[in-house]
């Protein structure tokens, strides 16, 4: 089980806590990854992706009933990602056959990629040109999984209808911005 305070902080998008988690386990992870034939750059890259997966799963609420502790969870994800990376490189470096770690099955599967297609890149650019209020609202709703009721509370709207019309207004601007570019 992940310590409650840390989990709550991760859910609240507390970057200071994320940083302390990142710093706390970094050298241990790098040491752990040493046994695999990966260069340092790859190992650090994987560690960062594992932290991102941890963060995203915490935000989604997938870690609420987790049996293992944070470090065990983080290292399981990391190990899975190491195997995946090794598999990708296998064609190049002829590494002995690799099997997935079996202890990963109970955990949430996590793939972290950064593959924007053209459309999503355009959406991203359009999103960044929205006003800060819209950006906050859309991030809360789509990324952090807030319900409209929770958004009313967080952003101090008068009622749910205000939040609802604000959200559809933001979506409309986003749609206009991205379509004007075509």
């Amino acid at each position: 089980m992940i310590e409650n305070g840390i989990l709550t902080a991760l859910k609240n998008d507390d970057k200071a806590v994320l940083k302390s988690v990142y710093m706390e386990h970094k050298s241990a992870f790098i040491g752990f990854a040493k046994t695999y034939k990966l260069d340092d750059e790859d190992v650090l890259d994987i560690y960062q992706d594992a932290i991102i997966a941890l963060r995203e799963n915490a935000l989604k609420g997938s870690l609420d009933n987790l049996k293992s502790g944070l470090k065990t969870y983080l290292f399981s994800i990391g190990k899975y990602m190491i195997y995946k990376r090794l598999k990708e490189k296998q064609k190049l470096h002829l590494i002995d056959s690799i099997e997935d770690p079996s202890d990963f099955n109970q955990l949430t599967t996590v793939e972290v990629d950064y593959n924007f297609d053209t459309r999503k890149r355009e959406l991203q650019i359009a999103f960044k040109s929205l006003g800060p209020q819209c950006q906050t609202l859309l991030n809360l709703f789509y990324l952090r999984g807030f319900t409209l009721d929770e958004i009313v509370e967080e952003l101090k709207y008068n009622n749910k209808d205000v939040a609802k019309s604000q959200k559809s207004r933001c979506l409309k601007s986003l749609k206009q911005l991205v379509n004007s570019k075509r």
Partner: protein, 241 residues
């Protein structure tokens, strides 16, 4: 409940079983509804990617701590002056011996520029998803780590000198110089349209590894063979002499 509410509850994950059925019926029968759900799904995917990119950058910042501010003190003890002198002599000595290697690094940096994509034109707004498009899209947007993965996939199926050439360029960008050299050394052996270009980049890669002799030899080969970069190659040989 109106259509907007269905979509909101869908993304909240608060649809009841009955509502979910109604949602799916709408999805099947109402094209506008389907389009709206698809749009919001794209928005969600984009925001997740956007967030990843942001957090990844932040983490990279955490790894490079900012240098601490300098504290100035005005009490110069004689031993400090002596120490500074020794340091100064040491640095000059080091500089004297390392000028050679920094200058090859500089020459490399001033000459190297990743070869432009002439294979797969990327058209804005077009959403081609085959591997080659993905590879060159990544290459053009300087996302070299992904480019390598895609180039490898292509080479697996169809080993071509052109793709090898771009892979080598990508490796150079990632500072994997010796891997790039190995690849280019095979690429230059086959006589095709990219041979001269491969020679130029091989010469630069040797330069980066401080292998001046091999670099000069390769440049001469290039000049003898082709007009590509011949002016630059001639100038570079002169600088290396």
């Amino acid at each position: 409940m109106n259509k907007t509410d269905y979509i909101i509850k869908y993304f909240e994950g608060t649809l009841s079983e009955v509502e979910l059925k109604a949602f799916n019926t709408l999805l099947e029968n109402d094209p506008d509804f389907k389009k709206e759900v698809a749009f919001e799904q794209e928005v969600q995917d984009t925001l997740v990617l956007n967030d990843r990119e942001k957090v990844k950058k932040e983490m990279q910042d955490w790894d490079t701590p900012k240098s601490k501010p300098h504290i100035r003190k005005n009490n110069f003890a004689p031993w400090k002056i002596a120490a500074s002198l020794i340091l100064l002599i040491g640095i000059s000595w080091l500089l004297f011996f390392y000028t050679q290697s920094t200058s090859t690094a500089e020459l490399y940096a001033s000459n190297f520029e990743p070869y432009r994509n002439v294979v797969q034109p990327i058209v804005r707004g077009e959403d081609k998803e085959d591997i080659q498009s993905k590879a060159f899209k990544a290459y053009e947007s300087k996302d070299y780590k992904n480019a390598i993965v895609f180039f490898d996939q292509i080479l697996q199926e169809d080993p071509s000198t052109t793709i090898s050439f771009y892979k080598a360029n990508t490796l150079l960008q990632l500072n994997k110089t010796s891997e790039a050299i190995t690849l280019l050394e095979t690429t230059v052996k086959s006589a095709d349209t990219f041979q001269d270009r491969a020679l130029w980049y091989l010469a630069l890669a040797y330069l980066k590894e401080d292998n001046v002799d091999a670099s000069k030899k390769t440049l001469k080969q290039l000049i003898a063979q082709s007009k590509f970069k011949s002016k630059e190659a001639t100038a570079l040989i002169k600088q290396l002499d």
